[in-house]
């Protein structure tokens, strides 16, 4: 018998080798208690959270919690059904109304996760004979959506406008075309030149899908994302987003002005063949989305945090993923996995949680310590974080 698990032997060996050095498992962290959007108890130690995507700190918002508790009482713990059978309750429709208002778009469709939103929309709209042109650094959910569908998949070099245009030009006359971009690329925290790229995509007759998972709530005048910020949201055919970042709960969505969009509810398999979100989850999401429309002060504070941390880490001599702070993600580039894991552990001992990111999630085989800031981090916490990085970086010998 061939052991089907033998294909995992290289990663099992790499993991065993790393843990044999006595290091804490970077992928086995448990939070015993969550004190606030920015602080949790990990291994009995109070730990500042700097790797949670909780950009706008909505997870403990009193109005959000109250809405969820009310929905639990009124509608129960779960729907036990698909959105297109018995799984659509009034809170699901209300949540979609909140999204339509937030983005100023005609249609909104809520999925059970952001992963499923990409999987569902991409695999359904791009079919046999169509072409998907996408950035090579796209999120796993985008790649999996491509793999699940029957379209021809054509990647281009990250954020390379010319590489994208060259490929668009070579697509056979008359074929359907879908260009897939992200507003913020979550590994390095860099943003896409959406205005230029979308203009070119439109010139070549392509439809455009933009994943704004890491920009919703704080990029753009109304927090609609990078496309809004660059003044090209009207040219985006499909915006994909998530509730598991700024919104502070779980779930995914697609908003669109396409006149036939509603048919997706019947033909999109990752929407049809899974249970809908619990009513309490969509109720918290709807409340949070509506509050995010009026969060200009929090947005300003989050940007201040991002600038302070970026400057502080750069001054200490760390190599960062972007030359300037352009999102709420500050990515610190590590020399290799071993020292990255050691640095991660040293920070945890200091009382700071960041994400350790490694290939294949990262571009160009990099090991990264990814910091995602929260609008609820105080200015003092950001200074504390910079001090922790300094001590840990010197201990591990990275700076």
């Amino acid at each position: 018998m061939t052991d089907l698990f033998s294909k995992f032997d290289p990663i099992i060996a790499q993991r065993a080798g790393l843990l044999a050095t006595g290091i804490t498992d970077p992928f086995g962290l448990v939070m015993e208690q969550v004190i606030s959007p920015t602080v949790a108890l990990c291994n009995g130690r109070e730990t500042i959270l700097l790797g949670t995507y909780n950009y706008m700190g909505m997870t403990f918002d009193p109005d959000v919690l109250a809405a969820g508790k009310q929905a639990l009482d009124d509608f129960g713990a779960g729907t036990t059904g698909s959105r297109c059978l018995n799984g659509t309750y009034s809170p699901h429709k209300d949540c979609e109304e909140a999204l339509k208002t937030f983005y100023g778009m005609d249609h909104a469709m809520v999925f059970s996760t952001g992963y499923q939103a990409n999987l569902g929309i991409i695999s359904t709209i791009a079919g046999k004979g169509d072409y998907i042109i996408l950035d090579i650094d796209s999120h796993a959910s985008i790649w999996d959506g491509c793999k699940m569908g029957d379209a021809e998949v054509v990647p281009f070099k990250h954020n390379d406008i010319d590489a994208m245009e060259k490929r668009l030009k070579r697509i056979p006359e008359g074929a359907g075309k879908l260009v897939i971009l992200e507003g913020v690329y979550s590994m390095l925290g860099d943003i896409a030149p959406l205005k230029e790229m979308i203009a070119i995509a439109k010139r070549h007759g392509a439809m455009v899908l933009v994943d704004e998972a890491h920009s919703m709530g704080f990029i753009g005048p109304n927090g609609r994302g990078v496309a809004e910020d660059q003044g090209c949201l009207d040219d985006v055919d499909f915006v994909i987003g998530t509730f598991s970042k700024s919104v502070g709960t779980v779930g995914g969505f697609c908003v669109s002005n396409h006149p036939k969009f509603e048919i997706m509810r019947l033909v999109c398999r990752p929407y049809v063949f899974t249970a809908s979100l619990p009513p309490s989850v969509v109720a918290t999401a709807a409340t949070s989305i509506r509050k995010l429309m009026h969060a200009a002060d929090k947005r300003a504070h989050l940007w201040a945090n991002s600038r302070t941390l970026h400057q502080g880490l750069r001054d200490l001599g760390f190599q960062l993923g972007t030359a300037e702070p352009v999102s709420a993600i500050i990515s610190v580039i590590m020399p290799d996995l071993e020292r990255g894991a050691a640095m991660w552990e040293a920070l945890l001992h200091e009382g700071l949680y960041v994400n350790l990111a490694r290939p294949p999630a990262t571009p160009a085989g990099m090991t990264l310590l990814r910091c995602s800031l929260c609008a609820m981090h105080t200015a003092e916490q950001v200074q504390t974080i910079i001090g922790m990085f300094e001590r840990a970086g010197k201990k591990i010998g990275i700076i």
């Binding site: 072409y131 090579i136 491509c146 021809e152 054509v154 990647p155 070099k157 490929r167 160009a364």
Partner: protein, 79 residues
């Protein structure tokens, strides 16, 4: 462009990626013999696409394992 000319042009493009300088034949595999990882494949495919002004989609790439198969595919894609 005929097969011989296409093969010659591709061989020239492989050279900078052929770190161990192995002799390339039609049976030479990219993953096994030339030890291309996924990042190298991406850069290499982009060079081939630009050199011949074609698209080799991921779907088509999945069918190409050897130098000979790549030459055949590029000849076909040039129409």
């Amino acid at each position: 462009m005929d097969r011989a000319a296409t093969a010659e042009k591709i061989a020239a493009l492989i050279a900078p990626f052929n770190k161990k300088g192995i002799a390339v034949t039609d049976a030479t595999s990219f993953a096994g013999d030339l030890e291309f990882d996924s990042l190298t494949v991406m850069d290499f495919v982009a060079e081939i696409e630009d050199a011949f002004d074609i698209i080799i989609s991921m779907n088509q790439q999945a069918e190409i394992e050897t130098y000979g198969q790549l030459v055949d595919a590029v000849v076909k894609l040039q129409g």
